[in-house]
Amino acid sequence: MAPMTDQAVTRRARWMYELGRARWASHILLLVLPLLLLAHLIGRPAPLVLGLGGSIAVAGFGLAMLHDRYARAVRTGVLAGVPAFAIPLVVRSLHLLPVQTAVDPCIPAAFASGVIAGWLVSRRAVDEEHQRAFWIVAVATTALTGSLGCSVAGGGGVVGMIAGVIAGSAPVVLRAGARS
């Protein structure tokens, strides 16, 4: 190894640190990519899977590289979004709700799964030091993950799911705000 100045060693050490961080952040893809593969296998439209899935993967990797708290938020968001992803699809494929109603049965299912996701994310956020940052990242990830499934009901499903996330988060966020 050639002798280096302290500045060169600092630069190289910083580069190695970022490389190590990128390696660590790439673990988030082990969670996201199987979900995208599943979405593709159950017949979700490829542009949707590529668009939303690509956003989750890129944003998840970038945020995990930035700081551990964002990595935790992305993980929580993806896991909390799994019910929102799966429930509307299950409801539609198994015809669990009556179809003779004016509203697409998948919209209430998306809302309900959104409530569950919002509640899970918010419960997890109150344990964090930087609650707001954690909550924003986690909810955004949940919304993207859930949209992969909720979009089966069109835009209404997505809106229903997001409304559910907010509704599910509200009690926990308000209670945490009242405590502090």
């Binding site: 190894m1 060693v9 600092t10 190289r12 050490a13 700081h67």
Partner: protein, 169 residues
Amino acid sequence: MLALARGDRSAFQTVFSALWPFLRQFCGRVLHDDALAEDAAQAALMKVFLRATDFRLDGDVVAWALGIAVFECRSLRNRRTRRGEEIGHPALATVPVAGPTPEDAAIEASLGSALREVLQTLRPLDRETLEGFLAPTPAVRRTPLLRKRLQRALERLRTAWRETHGSDD
């Protein structure tokens, strides 16, 4: 270190400033070779930062960094030893063997000195005959008379040598 492991980049300079001189000093003490110690310290530092994200709350940063440094010192020293062995064998094989070895040259010089001493004890005629014969370009023609003189001079030289240095028997 813990802050850096979590992704807090503002801790980088603090950790670097603490670890770099420490690792350099440690590797210098272990290896007793400035260049090798510098290499080992650099390699250890790079590994520490590459794996910084894996550092956990219950870890001891000094023990962790020293563990990596010890490994690097050992690896570099072993690599250098191996390189020395690898270079050694082919290098020896390429050494020219046409000339006399230092040992042969010393023996030859010692024998030459002893022979000159014995020559001084011979008669002048015998000495001149032998010197004329041993000269690179003999000045005289080799007549039967000269060959007879040479034979006698050699016999006397052998006798004088035996008297001075003893016989091989």
